[in-house]
């Protein structure tokens, strides 16, 4: 059978009206750029983490002492 | 543009934002109460809805008299009931099942609607209750079965009995069983109809619409029912024209969303207009009817019910009234809107827009004091607003149906494509294959990484919803509080539509 090469072409009407029905669809939330942290904030957070860690260490230590 | 043209048409005569006037258009009328050629404003004030119902009379900008009403007014009209001199109109206030007639602002007569037939079964049941044959609980059962089956509805007494708690029933029966059972209806709207002449001071009959789907015409002197007509549904608004002795039309908007036209010598409606939404305003202009729908639209009909036009309004209608200026041969419709505007329409053309400081609930146009073209409005917040039409004001009939909407020609605010964008496009075009390959490779790696992470999350049950198909469940924990103690709530949503909530105090 001879191979027939079919060519698909899109149809773009040049005349007449084009109507689109606007159906409301569900929407996604937008992508989220993450804000960069200021130096002060980073330092604050670091200090807070360190402080928390220190408190935790101390609590652990006192617990061990009690046991 | 509209605003400036309106400032040129209306004079601001009076505005009292704290007049304490709570009313709607059917409860407002203008009449020359003293026969001195100066019109007063009559208002049936609804008060707070349960207290403070009053009949108020304004003269100029001041309240000149007020008297208490026994019940909520549903309509107020002034009319001439006799031919005595001096020619002073009487005032009729409809409330509950009664019409109270005032002459010279003094109570004169009270007309009560005739009672309706009582269901005979109901009567028998109450009879048995009176004789102590049945206890309140079986009375309740029997009444309920009557309510479900019978053609004739139950009386108010039986209905209120059925709504009681069992503990209160006995007391209710003791209190009421001695009186005979009566069934009474209430008035929903009231209008006047000239008896035999169309003169301004001719004697008028009262036309009353009731909850029991009747329209009565009352004789003005003897207060006997001249005519009784039946409607398919309860009337809510009414418009009457003609003379009783000659020919008349009563146009009634009913609660089933239809408008019926009644005529002399026919007990049943002659024409019916079925609307697409519930009517909220009914006004006659010349021979045509203008109906406001609660879908923010205004319709025009001929009096035989042929639809003429329909326009959309920018906001829901709060009230409607005719603007009739016989000296100038001018008739139009005033439409109060919820967006604090009052529009004036002649046919479907908007003639003028009045901005008001508050949404208007009640409009009345006519002769007030000695001024012919006075527009009186009561607002939602209880204010009273009086405007006077300037003698020089002229309304132009413009067909305001707009062409294509203005927004069509507004350009969208979009960015021009930057050079950077073009450069990047070029890059994409030139090295598309390489980019695609890189992307696909990354994508396979990412798919693997995601699948791994997802598996880990599933294995350690980190996701807030269950992954099993048989027990779809979602949990969501919220911690609230300022510490040191916190409230921790867990919301479990079973996808079988049962939601449980647990609270833990930590």
């Amino acid at each position: 059978m001879p191979e027939v090469k079919t060519v698909f072409r899109e149809v773009l009407p040049k005349k007449g009206q084009l109507s689109i029905e606007d159906v409301p669809t569900m929407i996604l939330c937008k992508p989220k750029l993450l804000p960069l942290k200021s130096v002060t904030l980073e330092k604050l957070e670091k200090m807070q983490m360190e402080a928390q860690e220190a408190v935790r260490q101390q609590e652990l230590a006192t617990k061990e002492q009690l046991q | 543009m509209e605003l400036s043209s309106d400032a040129g048409k209306w004079l601001d005569a009076h505005y009292d934002p704290v007049a304490g006037l709570y009313t709607f258009s059917p409860c407002m009328d203008l009449a020359d109460l003293n026969g001195d050629g100066e019109n007063r404003l009559l208002v049936g004030d609804l008060g707070s809805g349960s207290l403070g119902m009053k009949l108020k009379v304004y003269r100029g900008t001041a309240l000149s008299s007020e008297s208490a009403l026994l019940d909520l007014p549903t309509g107020l009209v002034s009319f001439f009931m006799d031919l005595h001199e001096p020619r002073v109109p009487a005032v009729a206030v409809a409330s509950g099942p009664c019409v109270y007639i005032y002459k010279n602002l003094r109570p004169y007569f009270k007309f009560t609607l005739p009672g309706l037939d009582v269901n005979s079964l109901e009567q028998d049941v109450w009879q048995q209750a009176r004789e102590g044959q049945i206890d309140p609980l079986s009375l309740k059962e029997m009444l309920e079965s009557i309510r479900n089956k019978a053609d004739v509805p139950l009386s108010v007494r039986s209905l209120s009995f059925l709504s009681l708690e069992p503990s209160e029933m006995d007391e209710f029966v003791q209190l009421h069983k001695q009186q005979p059972v009566k069934r009474q209806t209430v008035i929903t709207c009231i209008q006047t109809l000239k008896k035999s002449t169309s003169d301004d001071d001719g004697v008028s009959c009262l036309v009353i619409g009731t909850e029991s789907c009747h329209v009565y015409v009352l004789d003005p002197e003897a207060f006997i029912i001249l005519s009784k007509m039946v409607l398919p549904s309860a009337p809510t608004m009414m418009n009457v024209t003609g003379q009783y002795d000659v020919e008349f039309r009563v146009t009634v908007a009913c609660r089933n969303g239809s408008i019926y036209v009644l005529r002399r010598e026919s007990e049943k409606p002659k024409y019916c207009i079925e609307l697409s939404s519930h009517p909220v305003g009914l006004v006659r202009v010349g021979k045509n009817l203008v109906v406001g729908g609660n879908d923010e639209s205004l319709h025009g009909f001929t009096q035989k019910g042929k639809k003429l036009w329909k326009i959309s309004l920018p906001a829901p209608i709060t009230t409607m009234a005719t603007m009739d200026l016989p000296t100038r041969g001018f008739q139009a419709v005033l439409v109060g809107l919820a967006n604090c505007e009052v529009h004036l329409y002649r046919d479907k053309n908007l003639l003028s827009t009045i901005r008001t400081p508050d949404a208007v609930t009640s409009i009345c146009f006519g002769r007030y004091g000695r001024e012919d073209g006075t527009l009186i409005m009561a607002t939602k917040g209880g204010g009273l607003l009086v405007k006077i039409l300037k003698r020089t004001a002229a309304f132009e009939d413009k067909d305001s149906t707009p062409g294509p909407p203005l927004t069509q020609s507004v350009r969208l605010n979009t960015h021009k494509k930057t050079k950077l964008y073009v450069d990047q496009m070029m890059r994409e075009r030139e090295s598309g294959t390489v980019m695609h390959r890189a992307f696909q490779m990354d994508l396979s790696r990412l798919r693997l990484a995601t699948a791994k992470a997802y598996l880990k999350a599933l294995e350690s049950s980190l996701t807030p919803m269950s992954s099993s198909l048989s027990e779809p469940l979602k949990m969501n924990a919220v911690v609230q509080g300022l510490g040191p103690s916190f409230n921790c709530s867990f919301h479990h949503t079973g996808l079988s539509l049962v939601t449980k909530e647990e609270h833990w105090l930590l």
């Binding site: 807070q48 | 089933n256 697409s276 995601t450 779809p472 919301h491 949503t493």
Partner: protein, 501 residues
């Protein structure tokens, strides 16, 4: 032969090299040998004492201008106009994600902008109480106090200086010691009351002529919430000496007093004295940003960049603004600039990934996200990155991947309302209506300020014929975003339904 350096000199050198702990250790040793006594002591111990206070202060020093945390009480009880600016006075706003209060998220986060202003009391107390975002009841308590107590805990021998035994009057006479002591009390001990005492006595000793002490007094008053007093001190200090910092402090007072316009004028006044001063320009930009006037804010950030082209905040803010106004290719350029400057963290790579994807630079997209995941330090960051990868997956129509990504976002952050919303959209595509509805309801309850869940819920309810729920949800969506056209259309359609007989 070993050359020994004089210990005090060594400590000083350590201090200059910011090896603060070593510096403090040496000073401690010196002080052990030469105990410091307030009344009569050697100059060496006095110097060591002073150096140690400075070292300890530097360890916990944070820029007072930048630190500003409103407590719940201040936030909920005042009605400042910045707080009440409607966030929607610019069309097209809602292309941008918003904070709890409905204010758009900008490119940069500072301590005071961290979690936005909650709309209701319930939201306020619901703020996730992790270390990074915990919110105190009032600014008089909270982070400073917690840090203060923490610093004491870490010192096994108790505090270095016992404030209750200190004779502040004497120190206030010694200008060479009083300043370091003040900073120590203010920054390290966070004891504002004693700091205020010291500052008051010192300024008296300086015959009310020293601007420095006035500024410190103002700082104390500010911390105590006495804004009018603070204003007086800062104004008076400016009369003595024009200093940039004083302008910044004073502007902060006005912002707290709800006078953003006064603050703007003050900044402009400051710019007359210090033309092109970056911190003043940034201040103006920030106020514009808070009042949602992003285009003016961007103008000022551009001015900032003209003066200092490595200003991270300005670059980040302009970048995010471009991204959300549909110019990701320009945003990409700004974020790449940050990368060149050496910023290296999760947030930046995440943003680069997004910009690359939307600017069609696909080859760099996924590797950026991979790096962002690797660099993330907290579960919240991880969740946000997965959420954004989910968007890329939706973009290339790989819905399985998208589904997994949004679920992962939820696994890392159970309160990720956006992920819930997007997951609901995917679930509905699969035809699982109940699931979708449950997710939307959760999203709506987690973040009632977002319009998307309400709108989606409205559409879903309308589809299954529950018009009443649809209407209620649409109304909520309208509250959150009045200009949203689709919501308006839906409402209109529903009203027609209701009005019909």
């Amino acid at each position: 032969m070993e050359v020994t350096i004089d210990p005090l000199f060594l400590a000083w050198s350590y201090f200059r090299r910011r090896k603060l702990q070593q510096c403090a250790d040496i000073c401690t040793k010196i002080l052990q040998d030469n105990p410091y006594d307030q009344d009569c002591s050697l100059p060496i111990s006095e110097a060591a004492w002073s150096l140690k206070t400075r070292a300890l202060t530097e360890m916990v020093y944070i820029d007072e201008v930048e630190v500003d945390q409103e407590g719940i009480a201040e936030m909920m009880l005042d009605e400042s106009s910045i707080a009440q600016v409607t966030p929607w006075n610019k069309p097209g706003w809602r292309t941008q994600p918003v904070t709890q209060s409905g204010r758009p998220i900008t490119g940069f986060v500072r301590p005071s902008t961290q979690s936005g202003r909650p709309g209701t009391m319930e939201q306020a107390i619901k703020t996730p109480r992790t270390a990074s975002t915990a919110r105190p009841v009032t600014s008089a308590s909270g982070r400073f106090i917690r840090l203060g107590t923490a610093s004491m805990l870490t010192n096994p021998d108790g505090p270095f200086i016992n404030l209750s035994r200190l004779n502040l009057a004497k120190y206030s006479q010694k200008p060479n010691l009083s300043r370091t002591l003040f900073e120590y009390i203010f920054h390290h001990e966070n004891d504002v009351k004693n700091a205020l005492d010291l500052a008051a006595q010192a300024t008296e000793h300086a015959q009310f002529k020293d601007w420095w002490w006035k500024v410190q007094l103002g700082k104390c008053y500010y911390r105590l919430g006495l804004y009018r007093e603070a204003e007086k001190q800062f104004r008076s200090a400016l009369n003595h000496q024009e200093i940039v910092d004083t302008y910044l402090y004073l502007a902060k007072v006005y912002q707290r007093l709800d006078q953003p316009i006064t603050a703007l004028n003050l900044f402009k006044q400051g710019l007359d004295h210090f033309p092109g001063e970056v911190t003043l320009l940034t201040g103006i930009a920030r106020i514009h940003e808070e009042m949602n006037n992003i285009s003016s804010a961007t103008e000022y950030y551009r001015d900032v960049l003209k003066q200092d082209n490595t200003h991270v905040e300005a670059i980040a803010c302009i970048g995010s603004n471009h991204f959300y106004t549909d110019q990701p290719e320009i945003a990409l350029r700004f974020y790449r600039r940050l990368l060149q400057m050496g910023v290296y963290n999760c947030q930046l790579y995440n943003n680069l990934g997004l910009c690359c994807f939307y600017a069609q630079q696909y080859d760099m997209t996924l590797s950026s996200f991979e790096r962002a995941l690797a660099l993330s330090t907290s579960d919240e960051e991880q969740a946000d990155v997965w959420y954004n990868i989910g968007h890329v997956a939706v973009g290339i129509a790989d819905l399985t991947l998208a589904y997994q990504c949004f679920k992962l976002a939820l696994a890392f952050n159970n309160d990720h309302a956006e992920a819930y919303n997007n997951l609901a959209v995917l679930e509905l595509r699969k035809g699982r209506v109940e699931q979708s509805k449950a997710f939307l309801q959760t999203a709506a309850s987690l973040a009632s300020h977002m319009y998307e869940p309400h709108f989606n819920l409205s559409i879903l309810s309308e589809k299954i014929g529950d018009l009443q729920s649809s209407y209620t949800a649409a109304q909520k969506a309208e509250d959150a975003f009045p200009e949203h056209v689709d919501t308006q259309q839906l409402l209109k359609q529903l009203r027609v339904h209701f009005a019909a007989i």
